[in-house]
């Protein structure tokens, strides 16, 4: 009993320490991002809209274990689709107006959202392919094992099937 109580105390102390660390790290991140967001405001504005499918996928995959890699697929291709326009601003006119022009144009939106859609497509298609591939492999192994067993019984008799 004493040992159990001691263990519980130690566990509580550990969780308290961990929560404190998380809070501290988040605070530091906000401190860094806040001035940066002022410098890269047009980029941030553009990304906040163009990366909308990614944000949705993040929200969608939260607490869903089977979709935990979904945001990476969507986000990766969504960012790849947005990169051309970000570079356009960085190497051209990096203003709020330029960002607003891009966001109101059809082509940039189609490009970024299309890339995100492709991400979704990859996320749903590749696992199915892998599952089918694994099933084929498994069937092949099963038939091989059946043949092995049949040959062993033919050569050594049904006595080998007795597990005792």
């Amino acid at each position: 009993m004493a040992k159990q109580q001691k263990g519980k105390k130690e566990q509580k102390q550990y969780y308290k320490k961990r929560d404190a660390t998380v809070v501290a790290s988040r605070f530091l991140l906000i401190l860094l991002l806040f001035p940066l967001s002022f410098i890269l405001l047009p980029t941030m504005l553009f990304l906040s809209f163009s990366m909308l499918p990614t944000w949705i996928s993040i929200l969608f995959s939260r607490n869903r274990r089977q979709y935990r890699y979904c945001w990476l697929c969507v986000g990766g291709l969504n960012l790849a689709g947005s990169a051309h326009y970000i570079f356009q601003m960085w190497f051209g006119e990096h203003t709020i107006e330029a960002a607003a022009n891009l966001l109101t144009s059809v082509v940039p939106l189609v490009a970024t959202f299309g890339a995100a859609a492709f991400g979704w497509l990859i996320f749903f298609s590749i696992p199915s392919i892998v599952v089918v591939y694994m099933q084929v492999l498994s069937q092949h192994r099963i038939s091989h094992l059946k043949n092995v067993q049949k040959k062993l019984v033919e050569e050594w008799g049904s006595g080998i099937t007795e597990t005792k």
């Binding site: 697929c73 986000g75 790849a80 590749i126 696992p127 192994r141 094992l145 067993q149 062993l152 050594w156």
Partner: protein
Amino acid sequence: MEEEDKDAPLTENASSGADEKQNEAFSEKIKVGKASSVVVKEHYNVLADSPLPELDMPGAKAYEVVTSRNDNECFALVCDGKLPIRSKAMISLRGVNKAGLLPLVDSGASYWPNLNQECMIIIYERPLGGKVMTSMDSTFEPIRENILIEKYGNIFIDAIRELYVRNITHRAIRIDNMYYMDEGRTNIVFGDCVTSPSAYFQPLCCETIESSMANNAGRDVNTLADDIYSLGVAILMLYLGENPVANMKDVGLFEAKKTNGSYAALVGKRTISKNLVECLRGMLSDNPKQRWTLETFEAWVGGRRLSPVVTKIGARAKRSLEFNGKSYFYIKDIAYAMATNWDSAIDLIKGEKKLEVWVRRGLRNNFLADAIVDIEKETKDISASNRIIEDVTIAKICMLFDPIAPIRYRTVSFFPDGFGVMLSVTILKEQDVSPIIEVVSYGVVDFWYENQLVSLAIPKNIENARSFFKHTIIGYGLERVLYELNKTLPCQSSLLRGYYVDDIRKVLPALDDNAKNINQQQWPVDRHLAAFIGCHFREQTIEQIDAINNIRPDYSTAGMLSLLAVLQWKMGQGSLLGLASWVGGLMAPIIDSYHSKDRRLRLEKEIPKIVRKGSLPDLYNLLDNKEERQLDTSEYAAVKVEFISALKEYSILKNNNKKRDGEAQEVGQQISAIVSFIIMLVSITILLVMRL
């Protein structure tokens, strides 16, 4: 004997001319009887077409013999195998040429066409004067007293002494088994005594009271006293020229012997010379202790006169015991009445205890009465059925009342010495053996020995028999007792039908010859054969016989093969093609005991090659090769492990579809994330490079 040996070569030289004539006669006779002549021991041609009915024995037929070897004429007695012969006596008497004994020239087992089987054929010198008396109820010219005593007395003494020296008894001394060796009918000899068990065909008049109580097969007692008694009867008949009791029935004669004594029963009112009365009273005494011995008879023949023996009758009871409507005053009579009325005998012992009361009050013998009570108490403890307990009680009380009588138990009656012969005759005649087994198993025979006036140790063979009776498995049991107690008895196995196999060396050749006549699906070893081999080849075959009794068919088949292989190897017997082929066809259980199919196929291919060599040891080495067996076992164990692991994997693959699909899904997602990430990196890099 020495003189005879010295004379032998001289006779040969002198009779060379006579030999030629004899050989011619031999050839002629062979031609005549060619179709059915049988050669015994390479020298004696027994003519199956020439019977000699006047020399027949009850258990053997006589046939003419043609031989160039023996100077004198010979005849053969062919045993039909329905009764055991006295092989020990036969071997002992072979070649003995002694006055008073019919010379037994030779013997051997040969195929006998008349019976279509191998038979023991015994060659005797032919008695030219024929039988002294053709049958027990015929008459002949009486022999004068002085000739009977002075001439034949000494001859008979020499003959019986010769048997005694060889540790055998005749037990077939009777007037119709006595012959004149010469044509002039001056030289009497005792006839054959080996073609049937001891005293088997002796009429009641020639046997003592006790021996008469025994079954014919149970009369084997290895003492001279019974021969002396039979000789006394023979002397009486030779003196009278007839059988004095030829017209009496057996029951009447037996009762007369019991009531009046043997001498009075046999002589009756006939006049016997005073001199001979003394001899006959001594030889026919019903008390074995008072009966004359060979020495006494010899002294009498030598002229010494002795006082006549008067046999005392046992104590007479004050009052009679009523049983089965008759009154009895003597305990021996009661014992006999109980033995002959077995089913009602128990009424005397149980209930009102009439027997015990009679012994206590009528006979005034408390010691005997207490012994009856003790027997009843002892037998109650036997763990057997009520019937057996009652039978054992009756048998023991019979023995208590008449210790020198044979063991009497329900339908059987025999002297313990004759236990083996009794058993063999019962089996050969396919009669019920259970009474004999019960006698040994429930201590009846032990009681006989304990109850003798001179305490006798229970023979070892009785103890062994008891032990064998308990083990009823193949190679032991009743059959084993049969061969242990009758070492010279031929094997009674149906597998050896037609062959006289009394020697372990004859077993395999006989089986080999018989192989073509027997259903090849049948095993070449049955209960009789296993017991015979176990008895005659004990030390080397214990393991094999134990293996035969194993429940597993491969073990028992290997045991059977090993048993036969050991015999062939130890006996140095050559190729046995028939037997090897027969045995080879029965090896399926051993072949099937190998796990590997390849190995089994290889063995199946190898067997015919070895069968063609006719070698059972090689067959055994092939099929029960230890290295092969170990290899097969270890490989089998490894394969079994392999099979089980394959089975497990199969089961996992078959049953864990969901888990596998889940894992594949996760892997697929990881792959898609990596692909997406790579595309992102590549595209950003290209765009950057293009800008720069």
